[in-house]
């Protein structure tokens, strides 16, 4: 079928000389009350990103108040001492800005993106929201009801159901990560303004808070503005340093848990166990390993399940690194008939990444990707601010981002294999499925994957069934996404978008990412 009249050049081009790149320089300072300020001046970037990060996340709240921190963050913009919710949103809109307040597992943040010329009035609104919220009862009631409705919606979405059931399966009862960061029906139902205020005040300590601003800031005196807006922020409300987060695994062997969803045309698969916190010595080796196993397009999982077998639109794996040990998961949505063979393929890849060193070509491709994509990621102020927030949240050294690329380049095949052996445990994995059990239960039995539990009951007592993840699956895009959580957009159910060629993996798995 060769078109002989076509002339193309068979020789692959070689790269030119890379332009030197460094992560933007930042100025760090501190107000008298202890508030930290990090400023990244990025000439030519007139859309400024600013964020106040409070080190107080859903992982820090008591079990019984689960969801209070996330709801408190959302309620910050629902009324302050000077503005009601409508006056606040209108004032922000007149500046061309929207104030986002949100919380994830590790932190709460209030952020804004605004043209540099209107930064100061936008920061005034941000400070008002962060320091003087009133938690009006009527608005708190509404947000609580919306969260309860969102939990209902989550039950119908196979992806959210799988994610929630997976978390509830791999963590023990004492771990906050067992539940959604937004809380469960039982805990959310009892949330009120007082509980929200308590959750908010737990983090209200200037000495543990940081303002981060990035963009073209020429002529803008941020230390002076910050002093004016935050300088009178006094002593904390009895807040102390937050404690360690309990993250205990509950998986001791290999087993299958199926949430039966009759008529499902695909099975949502999650395979794995408890993972790791962000602060670990082998972070860079883990990142390279994650890219090879399930991060790159040509990762072992995606190559096998998608490009060889056609089982899925995309397969991947990764570690969600938090202050405590977040989950490790391999994931795919496969057509119902191939559920059992897809699971066997995933398990085989989890074994293989441990049993033999990766090839030189795999190692080079993964390292070159992570190193090369680093400057792409930080083209605009938002991601720069997000990465700096990550350093703050995880207590990482100031030079962590500058160190990232050389550290990735130094990762060896031995280090990758060691990371896989230390942190992936195919013999102690939960296999959690949401799909039509009637169509594949016999295949699962025959595959001998370990004990098999099929849950057909959809009653509220069924653990993991009535919980929700932090990302709202709402058509209105105004929910989640503080710098501490993954950057996945809320997924509008069937929001019309062009159909694309590539796969849906790489969402909340962070090991392929730059740090922070």
């Amino acid at each position: 079928m060769t078109d002989t009249e076509v002339r193309v050049v068979p020789t692959r081009p070689t790269p030119g000389t890379p332009r030197p790149y460094d992560f933007p320089e930042v100025q760090r300072s501190r107000l008298a009350n202890g508030l930290s300020l990090i400023v990244a001046n990025l000439p030519g970037r007139p859309l400024v990103s600013a964020s106040l990060v409070l080190r107080n996340g859903a992982g820090d709240e008591p079990d019984g108040d689960a969801g209070a921190t996330v709801l408190a963050a959302r309620a910050l913009t629902e009324g302050t001492e000077r503005y009601d919710a409508i006056a606040l949103v209108e004032a922000a809109e007149r500046l061309g800005a929207a104030i986002h307040s949100d919380a994830g597992w590790d932190a709460m943040s209030v952020g804004v993106e605004v043209p540099a010329s209107r930064l100061e009035p936008a920061l005034e609104l941000l400070a008002e929201v962060a320091l003087h919220p009133t938690f009006p009862e009527s608005e708190v009631d509404r947000l609580r009801d919306e969260r309860l409705n969102d939990l209902l919606q989550a039950e119908a979405d196979p992806r959210r159901r799988a994610d929630e059931a997976y978390a509830a399966t791999i963590y023990s009862g004492g771990s906050p990560y067992r539940r959604p960061s937004g809380g469960t029906k039982e805990t959310v139902e009892r949330l009120d303004p007082a509980l929200l205020r308590t959750a908010y005040q737990r983090g209200l300590d200037p000495a543990r808070a940081t303002v981060i601003v990035g963009g073209d800031l020429s002529g803008i005196d941020l230390p002076a503005i910050t002093e004016r807006l935050f300088g009178s922020w006094g002593a904390p409300f009895g807040a102390g340093p937050t404690g360690l987060i309990v993250a205990e695994g509950a998986v001791r062997d290999r087993f299958v848990r199926v949430l039966h969803r009759p008529g499902s045309v695909q099975t949502e698969i999650r395979i794995g166990h408890i993972g790791l916190p962000r602060r670990i010595p082998d972070f860079h080796a883990l990142s390279v390993m994650g890219a090879i196993l399930g991060g790159l397009f040509n990762s072992r999982l995606n190559t096998k399940l998608r490009e060889e077998k056609g089982y899925t639109y995309g397969a991947g794996a990764g570690f969600d690194l938090r202050r405590g040990a977040g989950p490790f998961a391999a994931r795919a949505a496969v057509n119902t008939e191939v559920t059992a063979p897809a699971i066997l393929d995933i398990l085989a890849e989890l074994d293989r990444i441990r049993d033999a060193p990766v090839t030189d070509a795999e190692l080079k491709a993964a390292r070159d990707f992570l190193v090369g994509v680093f400057p792409l990621r930080f083209e605009t102020p938002g991601p720069v601010v997000g990465a700096l927030a990550g350093l703050v949240i995880h207590d990482l050294p100031d030079d962590e981002l500058a160190r990232y690329r050389p550290a990735i380049e130094a990762v060896t095949a031995d280090a990758v294999q060691a990371a896989a052996r230390d942190h992936i445990h195919p013999d102690a994995t939960a296999i959690v499925l949401v799909g039509d059990a009637d169509a594949f239960a016999a295949d699962l039995e025959a595959a001998n994957l370990g004990r098999l539990v099929i849950e057909r009951d959809t009653g509220p007592q069924d653990e993991g069934r009535d919980e929700g993840v932090q990302e709202a699956l709402g058509p209105v895009d105004e929910g989640s996404g503080g710098p501490t959580e993954d950057s996945r957009e809320p997924e509008p159910a069937g929001s019309p978008e062009p159909a694309r060629s590539q796969e849906p993996v790489a969402d909340d798995d962070r090991t392929g990412d730059a740090p922070g």
Partner: protein, 458 residues
Amino acid sequence: MPIQPTVSFTDERLANGLRLIISVDRLAPVVAVNLWYNVGSKHEVKGKTGFAHLFEHVMFQGSRNVGKAEHMALVQAAGGTLNGSTWLDRTNYYETLPSHQAELALWLEADRMGTLLDALSQENLDNQREVVKNEKRWSYDNRPYGSWYEKLQGHLYPPEHPYHHTTIGSMEDLDAASVEDVSAFFRTWYPPNNAVLTVVGDVDPDAIRRWANQYFGGIPANPSIPKLGDLSLPPTLGEERRETVHDKVPLPRVYVGFRAPAFGDPRLDALDIAAQILAGGKGSRLHRRLVRDERTAQDVALVPLGFVGGASIVAGWATVRPGVSVEGVEAALHEELERLGREPITDDELARARALIETEELGGLSRVEERADRLSMYATLFDDPDLINRMLPRYLSVSVEQIRSVAAEVFRPDNRVVLTYLPELPPADTAAATEDDTSRVEASAESPEPAEDEEVAA
């Protein structure tokens, strides 16, 4: 004072008709390479729906000098990101890389534009057919409310119009696609004179020109690219169309859809602003009334979708809170939309919408990938890449009366489709329900619509 980012660029054609747009930006050491082909799902013929998108997947399966999936491997190993997408009017392919890797992307794009068929095999086509079928399941069929967009598009465009079917197509048609179909589609729609190549970033324009000629110059044009027939449509639907769907959903949701002016028509600019005022965030009318004040809806949305062939779509929805009258929410939705056609918006509403659009434009144009995509888009659809610099002024010049006027034209009962999604009935009740509800059976079984996904390892 409005901030208007100006994008400067050059615009030329190679001898074979490939349009080349170059825009230099040295702020970051990155480059975006972006190709738009003037072919989309509107070019598909009966029995071949979903083919343009399946074809796009095949474009990643190798060419004369590139192996299967090696396109992704080479770009990612160069530190780049990439993807492609298909939509009603067009198909695009794009890579963003460290700027010293620009030549690689040009070489890769040229190799598949020239020699895709050298690597075409039944095995690769079958593999990507399965992948695309799983994409359809993942994006539409296995999602709550997942069928709404296909239904809406089917109602808003008549069966003989090429926008009647969705980009993802049907399972049956995907099954019917053959290697011969791929060859014919490639030879017809993928010559250089049906494409726009845009390069934006930290590059030497002379080097880009040299490479473009070196790599793309030997690919012959197709002198006889077919022209689509007249796609014009009556501006309104002429009737209200309604459908009730019982689905695996806990909360009812009311979708509305309207025919709207075609993409490029200044009235669509006014409608964009109208949508911002109606449902753009927490300050908007619908959010305020239905979500905040009356608390009858869990969420609301209204989105214009611009298409060049005859009519665009403006689609919206409200998710109904438990125990609330679905009819009441629908009535309130219509009331707010129609009120916009009767009463002028306030100056403050217009000022707020303008400020938000300005920020949005500033954000969009700050990334080389987005800038390249918009240059390709305006060149492909309107032969006018400079629209990238004129859209913001166009938005900022929209008047209160233009918004009222377009709302009155579009938000009319005889121009709307209403889809009501209700929770599935318990088994005992289904017999009764089926009698007056013909859509029930297909509701959860089939539900395509354009898909969304994220790029790999991003």
